[in-house]
């Protein structure tokens, strides 16, 4: 055991409740249970890790055997990992306005059916509503004597409406997820919003691709902050040499109006009271006024790379921690949407998000809007569908010319290394002078 420089144990037990309603039929509704643990041992060089199910009945003797097993794995590692010292501090989990567990599944199903019902308007051929509620009960302890216990509850719903007319099929989608408790009451109108958008999209044009100025709405600009900047600032990618932001700390990489932040302490969907290796979570300014300021780090990547803050290690139950984003956003600027439309003159407004992806080493990203509007003579005109945006990170950051003053956060999930964690992204409206817009419309 003398070769063990450090160990930690993260044990997460909990339950997931879901409701799936498809075309008024309750397809399934129920609760499942899980119990996963991760034991990490820092040996003479790197980490040996054991992941196992049903840890809760593990005795002291069995724990000793698990530490030995993890150490045996650590022996094959070659990289000399060191851990930066970080403050260990836990924030209180924000209280819930209404604990979802206090409302029976029958009542939640009835509310969800109401949301779904409001989406059943003319030309809608399918409606689907989903509810999900996940309780994580976390116990963390490490060989430094730090120990934390907390519980989080994340819940939310989505409503999908599919419209069809003469062989054309389009969809509208609304979703809301929260750490603040049950959020499905009084949301019926969102069913209608999704449905009306699906019907509108039946008559929208396919976007014509090309280079043009583009305004991104707060949701899509949030995805831009996440995909184009957030991932490339993750310390593990920087350490591996797989990020275009490597070696650029202090460099002016974007317009001075641009500040991009990741903040796990913010009480939004990506909130963590303490990170997955026991470090305090703090607001980290990745880009401050156009200058690359900080990378996101775990204790290991902070020691190896520097230039940033630890507290960004996150993990799905039963998986080892990775450097991840939490709540990522572009800070408000001073422009109104009207000013941006006037400045843009001719281009496209992209709204909503169907997700995105990035190759951080190459510095190329792609993401897709749910829909958009053409901008002609500074006015919004026709609706377009299936419109996307791709670009090179460093070029695009310089191309942001105006930031709005209307930041909104949106909730979602982010995948990396096979782990999908809850995040929120946000921004005000943002104007890009020169964007590569994709669409299958023909000239």
């Amino acid at each position: 055991m003398q070769d063990i420089r450090y160990y930690d144990i993260r044990h997460v037990q909990g339950q997931v409740t879901h409701i799936d309603i498809d075309n008024t039929v309750v397809e399934s509704a129920g609760t499942s249970f899980f119990d996963h643990a991760v034991i990490r041992v820092l040996g003479p060089r790197g980490f040996g890790i054991i992941t196992l199910d049903n840890y809760r009945d593990t005795s002291k003797k069995q724990l000793g055997e698990l530490l030995d097993a993890a150490l045996a794995l650590a022996i094959i590692t070659e990289e000399n990992a060191n851990l930066a010292d970080t403050p260990g501090k836990i924030l209180p989990v924000p209280p819930m306005k209404e604990d979802p567990r206090e409302t029976g599944i029958e009542e939640k199903t009835a509310i969800l059916l109401d949301i779904e019902k409001s989406a059943r308007i003319n030309e809608i051929v399918n409606t689907r509503a989903n509810y999900i509620e996940k309780i994580d009960t976390v116990h963390f302890e490490n060989s430094n004597g730090q120990e934390y216990n907390y519980e989080t509850c994340r819940s939310g719903f989505s409503i999908l409406a599919v419209a069809s007319r003469s062989g054309i099929v389009q969809m509208g989608y609304e979703r809301e997820h929260s750490i603040h408790g049950l959020n499905i009451r009084h949301r019926q109108e969102l069913g209608r919003v999704a449905a009306e958008r699906a019907v509108q999209l039946l008559g929208a044009e396919s976007a014509k691709g090309g280079r043009m100025p583009a305004i991104l709405d707060p949701e899509l600009a949030g995805v831009f902050a996440h995909e184009a900047v957030g991932h490339a600032s993750e310390g593990d990618l920087v350490q591996e040499g797989n990020s275009v932001l490597n070696g650029r700390i202090g460099e002016k990489i974007g317009n001075s109006i641009l500040t991009i932040v990741d903040d796990p302490s913010l009480p939004e969907f990506g909130f963590e009271p303490v990170d997955a290796e026991g470090s305090e979570v703090i607001r980290t300014e990745i880009i401050r006024k156009g200058v690359l300021n900080s990378y996101l780090h775990s204790r290991e990547t902070l020691a190896a790379v520097g230039n940033g803050c630890a507290g960004h290690a996150r993990a799905v139950a039963g998986e080892p921690p990775l450097v991840r984003m939490s709540n990522t956003y572009i800070e408000n600027g001073e422009s109104s949407l009207e000013e941006m439309l006037g400045e843009c003159r001719s281009g496209i407004l992209l709204k909503g998000s169907r997700g995105g992806q990035v190759d951080p080493g190459r510095g190329v990203f792609q993401f897709n809007a749910e829909y958009g509007y053409l901008i002609e003579s500074g006015e919004l005109t026709r609706m377009v569908r299936d419109v996307s945006l791709s670009g090179e990170i460093l070029q695009t950051l310089h191309s942001i010319s105006l930031c709005g003053n209307d930041r909104i956060m949106s909730q979602g999930y982010c995948g990396k290394g096979g782990q999908s964690v809850p995040v929120s992204d946000g921004a005000p409206h943002v104007l890009l002078n020169d964007a590569v817009v994709g669409g299958s419309g023909n000239d």
């Binding site: 498809d22 039929v25 129920g30 499942s32 051929v125 399918n126 691709g209 080493g361 791709s390 669409g439």
Partner: protein, 433 residues
């Protein structure tokens, strides 16, 4: 982990106890072990061993279906109660019973009894990846190698009791050369491949993408590699063949059974017992014998994928396409080894943009089929060889439309998780720069 005989006893108890309370009970239990290690640049950064187990219970009572799952088989009673409670909330539907057992012949699929989960094997796979990468001028950024084994039992109150072992091995490597990246991987149930060739390919992609040339926006013939083809099919065509999406009005192919929707040479089918496949099965997740399903034959839509639940509801027959893809590991609709066939040509013989992979395929519109993706490692090819790398380009189109007339399929079928696919040549696609 439970002792295996204890798991068997628990399953019998669940079925006995459940049958007193509901019409039918189905239990799926699995146990797995794995070992893996990850590279940080060219050194092993960490090594992981894992043990996992899972119990899924589904009950059916008067056409109401409920399910629950837990990691802990000792908590089976809580899980059974949750499954029965879950059934109480479901809308009742027509139900014709869980399958009875049939005799299954043939050796186990996706299993190599000689595979040993040894840390030394994982280390040597990583060394081979690095050695392969050294053949071209690039740097390794990350990589991984893993070995796993699992065994599972599917049992139901209709006396069905099937069990099977599976094994899996995987390697992957990421490399960079300047600002050009390369990624390659391989999976197989046994160590029947050369990991250094995987490393060599990742390094080739990065090093040969350096100094990419700019091309202009316009229409080009495009060759999608098996990986890029699988990405677009998986996000658009495969969901459109799912019987539940078809019946719910969420599939553009829903009303097209018997219609010629694609190139008259194109075939798409599920071949569950293909020996090359990584997701092969002799029975599906509900115990229905798995069978070949011809989704598209000679361009004509021929079948959709069904599990028992969707089939009973809409008066269809299960096609043996249940997979453990539902909430909490409950059965849902999927496929085993999704394959394509059609006219085979030398896809790179004539000038085209060869696309190794795409960025953002999951943002495609699964209803309409419209997509825009950024290209990874695009090369201009001619006369069967790479001419020069293309710096940056976006491909926009519609998956359903682009398959209406294809140039042809390659002769390079590759196993990729739940599909085995060749490359495909497509004529005059929209490229935006």
């Amino acid at each position: 982990m439970m002792r295996w005989w204890a798991a068997v006893e628990t399953i019998e108890k669940i079925i006995r106890d459940g049958q007193k309370r509901v019409d039918e009970v189905e239990v799926c239990y699995f146990e797995g072990r794995s070992i893996s290690a990850d590279l940080k640049r060219e050194k092993i950064g960490y090594a992981t061993g894992s043990q996992s187990s899972g119990l899924s219970i589904r009950v059916i009572d008067h056409g109401m279906i409920g399910a629950s799952s837990t990691n802990n088989p000792e908590k089976w009673s809580e899980c059974l109660n949750a499954a029965i409670k879950s059934a109480n909330f479901a809308t009742p539907q027509p139900w014709g019973g869980l399958p009875a057992p049939v005799v299954m012949e043939g050796k186990p699929l996706c299993y190599d009894s000689t595979l040993e989960l040894a840390a030394s094997t994982v280390s040597s796979l990583l060394k081979a990846l690095i050695e392969g990468a050294s053949h071209h001028p690039s740097s390794v950024t990350s990589g991984s190698a893993g070995l796993s084994e699992s065994k599972s039992i599917l049992a139901n109150s209709n006396d069905l009791w099937y069990s099977r072992p599976t094994t899996m091995t995987s390697v992957s490597l990421e490399t960079i050369s300047g600002q050009s990246t390369g990624y390659e991987f391989n999976n197989s149930c046994s160590l029947d491949y050369d990991a250094s060739a995987v490393g060599e390919k990742a390094s080739f992609l990065a090093s040969h993408s350096v100094n990419g040339r700019d091309i202009s926006t316009g229409r080009y013939d495009v060759v999608l590699s098996p990986v890029a083809f699988a990405q677009l099919l998986g996000n658009v065509l495969i969901p459109a063949l799912n019987g539940r999406n078809v019946q719910a009005g969420r599939s553009r192919l829903g009303n097209m059974l018997g219609e010629g929707m694609f190139d008259p040479s194109l075939c798409f089918y599920d071949d569950p017992v293909n020996e090359r496949g990584l997701a092969g099965a002799r029975w599906d997740a509900e115990g229905t014998p798995a069978q070949r399903v011809d989704f598209v034959k000679n361009g004509v839509v021929g079948a959709f994928a069904y599990d028992l639940k969707t089939a009973y509801r809409y008066g269809k027959k299960s096609t043996g396409n249940a997979t453990r893809s539902g909430p909490g590991g409950a059965p849902g609709i999927g496929h085993h080894n999704f394959m394509a066939d059609g006219k085979r040509i030398s896809v790179c013989e004539e000038r085209a943009i060869y696309v190794h992979d795409v960025v953002g395929a999951h943002t495609a519109n699964p209803m309409s089929g419209d997509f825009s993706v950024e290209l990874s490692n695009p090369f201009m090819v001619d006369g069967g060889s790479f001419e020069y790398p293309v710096r940056k380009a976006m491909l926009s189109g519609n998956v359903f439309d682009m398959l209406k007339e294809i140039g042809g399929l390659g002769k390079d079928d590759r196993c990729l998780g739940t599909s085995i696919l060749p490359s495909i040549r497509l004529n005059k696609q929209q490229i935006i720069v």
